[in-house]
Each structure stands twice: as structure tokens, then as C-alpha cells.
Assembly symmetry: C2
């Protein structure tokens, strides 16, 4: 079981050795940013580890409110609910919406936390073929009685394979169902996609529908989003940005507001600072996109059929599991860390190699990875 | 919305003013302990905010493993799984056990997170009367077909009212059902009850059944526990201690291990240090118990019918909601903070005043609260 000995970054210490690192989800390299670390320390010294109280009593801290204010502002002036872990996001969302849908349609490759949340509703849960609006349409037709309202739940960017969900197309399918809801868990898209880093919904041109919280006209679907601040953002915890009215409903409905200690204060302070950096340094996102393109271009030249989206994740299948373990191991011996994932939502039984590129990788670092990989596949 | 301006402790800064503080869940006063804060800062500087990776790849940190080792050791040498929030505990437990029970029997006043977890199973969920083994027995008889296996889910200590669940009696009822399971969410008991701070199961004399993971004989019920490290322990996050075999199953089954970033490194380091203090300073727990007795004795002399358990929570109902808000407000004006809870699992429609006492409160502080309260009720 390898142990991390430094913040995740372009170089990362694993089991005491410094590796050129292309794994995990620290896409913008902010987890180890000096300002972020300083914010965590200062908050620990001033406020201790947590408020140890519910937010309906004396649990609020300035840092938690600051994360919510910044996340609301990122999406154009709404509000947000900040909670302990991104894993809880779909569950909080579906609990709040519970009486407003009759069945859950789930992309078959959705993350574990979405499958958990769907089951929790007690309503019919129907999987549709991965990223397939036509199959969604067919399942809706087969599943719903007239007048029933579907809730579609999908990842924005899929964690293992890095694909972008066809949100605009899914949204369009839902157009035909009055009262329909589209929920997106954008753990890997938030802070990465879109000119302003709003993620997959910005990439799909749907930001405005999100902030409004209610459809522009009575027949358009409603759109809801949850995500994490632990990946590209560089902090930690889950976030649910929406309209002010909807966030008030979330807080009144989900036990996570009144029945839990809010995120630990040092982490909330670090996360607020990371959100500030995310918004004030758009060049990080530009550089991340360029690096994603550079990596994917190099992999294509090597014969891999990678997509050309700005997502900084490449998923490679090279022979069987044993062969991929060998490649991963040999790269480690050359001082380069990528992940072999034996199992994950969306992967076949042989698993896959997963390469993640960061904003802080230089051209030379990417070339070094490509050169080493070329000799092994 | 009041804002915390200091760690929670016997005195706590709220909205810029320092109050004598009897609220929340920082029962041992460790959230602001200098060693705990130092551990958080040092880890932030060395490791950044989080590993930003799954534990099945490069997500492990020494701090997270140390929390698990210490929590396992606290329960006598088993293992533990440490995750982002105590709220997730019952859900992780029930997911892992999913194929091993046919119905969930839930104490009607269980915390929101247990109700969420029960619903997620998709199996029948039957509420039994609060802390009532006879009613549990009646519901089991009415609900189960021959051969069906019940899972009983209850808080160990109830958050708002501070009552201790009658675990030994519930356990005894389950004796008659082969394959039965008792699951306890001990958020408020862990670190408080029992000579070693193992919580409600130690208080009930059931520790050994927990560590074994499997029943002593085939007909005895199995016992599982989850809890939080955010309250008495003084850190943050959820914990599930059990046998080594069962923890291996949890990690293989629940998406929370392979599909989530582990708890943030500074928080994990702080939590490991807090667990060390909890175990090395049993005097804290003794003092907490004495303070609970002192507070309850004083309230009884005032005419309140409080129990005489060592739980550091007193729940007072004094007239209607408006009257209790008045009392809470007038205490604040005198520099003393207690909580008025308008709504919580286990409370009536009028809500209640909740007084929490800490290990760090002096006799004089408790006397001051009692003297002020006496003039207001």
C-alpha cells in the first residue's frame, strides 16, 4: 500500500521516493499551494479543528460561509451548500428533490455515490446505456406512465475514462417530459471545463439554467449540480451550487445541514483560498487544457485512440491486466507514477491505465512520460 | 446566524464575544488542544490539503492509517475504516452487510443519517418505539417471516436528549433470531462512555462481541459500530471499528474506500493526535463524568427530571418554544451560551434547550450556569 509523502503535484513523494507524477485528481496543483496551506494553518490556530456543532446552533464559521459565497459567485450569484465530502452530493440533491420525481434514470457508468443516492430514493432506478441519449429516450418511453416525471443522474466527467457526458443531448431528450430533472455530479469537471471553470454544464452551455434553479419555461427540465472541491479546486469537501431558494430548501430538508458538523475549519479556510486562486488565475486552467491536448496528441501519435476534449484524464487499455500492471511497474522503476486501476465504474474486467495531467506539468515532463511509455506499449 | 470565532471550549467566542459555553459536542475540549492544532499545521505543511487520490491508487497517507490503527487498538486490536464524515457511517455499514439481512428495524428517534441509510437498503424499514426492547420484539414478530434476519439500527447516545440506548436489552431480544445484526451509531458515546472510552457498547458490556466481528456462537447476534471523531475525540470524520476481516470487506464493498479521496491530511493528523490524547489522558473522561453528574444534580435540585447517566448532555423543556427562546436569549445576555434546538430527531414540536458540559468546565463555571438558569425557569 503506497504512502504519499508530499502534496500531490507534478512531482510527488511516494514511499520516500520522488516521482514524476501523473495520477489522481489534483489537476490544478493547488493542494500544495503555499497560500492554501497557510490558510489551513492560520485557521487551525485561530479556530481549532471544527466547530463541533450543528449549523442550526453555533456551528457556523466564517470559512464555511466563505466557501459557499465563493461557490455561489462562481456560478453567477446564486448560493451553495458546502458539506464534508463530495461523495454525499447526489444523496443530498435527491433527498431535497424527493417528492418531485417518479423514477431515476442513471447513466450505467455513474460513480458509486450516484448509484447509492439513486437506491436511497426507494423509487424505480433504471440504468441507461453510457452517455447514450437515444437509449435514455428508449428507457424513458419504456419506464414511465403518462405524467410521470423522470430524474436523470449522470457524472459530468467520468472519473476513470475522462469522458464528458452529453449533457445538452440528455437535456434535450428530457424536453419532452414536463417536470423532468437533470442532476449532474461534476466531481471531475468543476474547475476544469468551461471558460470560467464552472465545469461540464458550462461546457454544455447550460450554466444559466443552473443558476436560475427553475426552468425558463414550465416545460423545460430543471438542472441541478453537485461537485467536489477536493480535486481541481485543491481544497476538500462537497459543494452544491444553485439558486438561493433551492439552497434554502436543501438546508431545510437534508439532515446534512442541521444534523452534522460542517467541514473542518482549517479545510474550509484552505478551500476558500483555493477557490479564490481558481477564480483569480484563469491561466492555470488554460495551461491545464494545453497540457491535456499535448498529452492526448502524443498518445494518439503512439496509436492510442484518445478523444480531443480538454479533460486532463487519459484512460489506456494495453492488453490484459498483467501487461498493464507490468507497464505501470516499469514506469515506476523509471521514476514515473501513473495509476493502474484494477476496477472502477466504467472499466472492463481487465482494468485500465489512467494518466492524469496537471496544470503544473511542463512540456518536458509530458515528453518524458510519452517517451517512456512508447518503449513499453 | 452566529459565527464561531474560536475553538469550541468552556469559553467560546461567538460573533466576537466570549461566552461561557455549554453547547455542541466538543465534550473533552480537544478541538482546540495545542498538540492537535500543531499536528494539523505540520501535516498541512508537509502533505498539503489532501492526497487527491483514491486509496486503491496513491491516496493513502500515514495520518489516515494512523487514525485507523489507533481506532482499531482502542477496540482491542481489530482494524477500522476512517472516512470523511460520521454522517456516512450507517450507510457504509449497511452497504457492506446488504445481503445479510431482510428488514431494518430502526429506533424511531435515530439520527437522520441512520434513517437515510435504512432507506438506501431498499428493504422494509420498520420503526420501533424509542429505546423500547418490548416494542422491538413486537415489531419483529409482526414483520418477519420465519427464517428472515433482522438488522436493528440505533444511536448509542441520542444527540438531542442524551439518552443511552438499551443495547444489552435490544441485543437480548435479537438472541431469538438466528443471523440477527445490531448496528450502533455511537457519534455521541464514543470517547465518553466506558472505562476506556469505547462508548455505549462498552457501557453495555458488549465490547468483546464487537471486536470479534462474528458471534461467539452461531445463534448470537452480530454487533457493528460506527461513530464520529468530530465530537468527544476532537478531530473530524467518521470511523468504523471492527474485526480485520470485516474491515477488509468494507473496503472491498463500499464505494467510499476506492471511490473517494480519504479525509484531508491535516485533519487526519489532528485526529490521530486527538485519539492519542483520548487514550493517554483517561482523567479527561473522569472529569467529564463528574461534570455531567454535577450538572445533572444541580438541574434535579432545580426541579428538572434529568437522568443520572454519565452522558454530558441535558435536554430541558420549559414551557413553549417562545419561552425557551427567551431563556436562551437571556442567558446569552448574561454571557452564557446554551442551545435552543427548534427541531431535531427525538424532540417534540416545541423543541428543547440543550445543555452540554465539557471536561474542561470547572465547578465554578457549572455553578454559574445553574445560578443563572435558576432565575429564568
Amino acid at each position: 500500500m503506497p504512502l504519499m509523502g508530499s502534496p500531490p503535484g507534478d512531482h510527488t513523494v511516494i514511499d520516500g521516493t520522488r516521482y514524476l507524477y501523473f495520477a489522481g485528481t489534483g489537476y490544478l496543483g493547488l493542494q500544495g499551494h503555499p497560500d492554501v496551506i497557510r490558510a489551513a494553518c492560520e485557521a487551525a490556530q485561530r479556530y481549532g479543528i471544527s466547530s463541533a456543532n450543528s449549523r442550526t446552533a453555533f456551528g457556523n464559521t466564517a470559512a464555511v460561509l466563505e466557501v459557499e459565497r465563493r461557490a455561489g459567485a462562481l456560478f453567477g450569484g446564486g448560493d451553495a451548500f458546502y458539506f464534508a465530502s463530495g461523495y454525499m452530493g447526489p444523496s443530498i440533491l435527491l433527498q431535497t428533490l424527493q417528492r418531485e420525481f417518479d423514477a431515476v434514470l442513471l447513466d450505467e457508468w455513474s460513480h458509486y455515490c450516484s448509484a447509492d443516492a439513486a437506491r436511497q430514493t426507494g423509487l424505480p432506478v433504471v440504468a441507461f446505456r453510457h452517455a447514450d441519449p437515444d437509449d435514455l429516450h428508449a428507457r424513458l418511453t419504456a419506464t414511465l406512465e403518462p405524467g410521470q416525471r423522470p430524474l436523470v443522474l449522470t457524472d459530468g466527467v467520468f472519473a476513470a475514462r475522462g469522458e464528458i457526458a452529453p449533457l445538452a443531448e440528455l437535456w434535450h431528450v428530457l424536453d419532452q417530459y414536463p417536470g423532468a430533472i437533470l442532476c449532474v455530479d461534476d466531481a471531475h469537471g468543476l474547475g476544469v471545463l468551461g471558460a470560467d471553470g464552472r465545469g461540464t454544464i458550462e461546457h454544455a452551455g447550460l450554466t444559466e439554467s443552473l443558476v436560475r434553479g427553475e426552468p425558463a419555461d414550465a416545460n423545460a427540465p430543471r438542472l441541478f449540480l453537485c461537485g467536489t472541491l477536493s480535486k481541481a479546486v485543491g481544497g476538500y469537501g462537497g459543494i452544491l451550487p444553485s439558486s438561493r431558494d433551492f439552497i434554502a430548501r436543501v438546508k431545510a430538508t437534508a439532515g446534512h445541514y442541521g444534523g452534522a458538523t460542517p467541514p473542518p475549519t482549517p479545510v474550509a479556510a484552505a478551500t476558500a483560498k483555493a477557490l479564490e486562486l481558481l477564480q483569480s488565475q484563469p491561466a492555470l486552467r488554460t495551461r491545464l487544457r494545453e497540457n491535456a491536448m499535448r498529452l492526448k496528441q502524443g498518445l494518439r501519435e503512439m496509436g492510442f485512440s484518445t478523444d480531443d476534449t480538454p479533460v486532463p484524464i487519459c484512460c489506456l487499455t494495453v492488453g490484459d491486466a498483467a501487461n498493464m500492471r507490468r507497464i505501470q511497474q516499469m514506469l515506476m522503476e523509471q521514476g514515473i507514477a501513473i495509476a493502474y486501476m484494477a476496477a472502477y465504474s466504467g472499466l472492463g474486467p481487465e482494468g485500465a491505465l489512467r494518466v492524469a495531467v496537471f496544470a503544473t506539468h511542463t512540456d518536458e515532463m509530458i515528453r518524458q512520460l510519452l517517451d517512456s511509455l512508447r518503449l513499453l506499449v
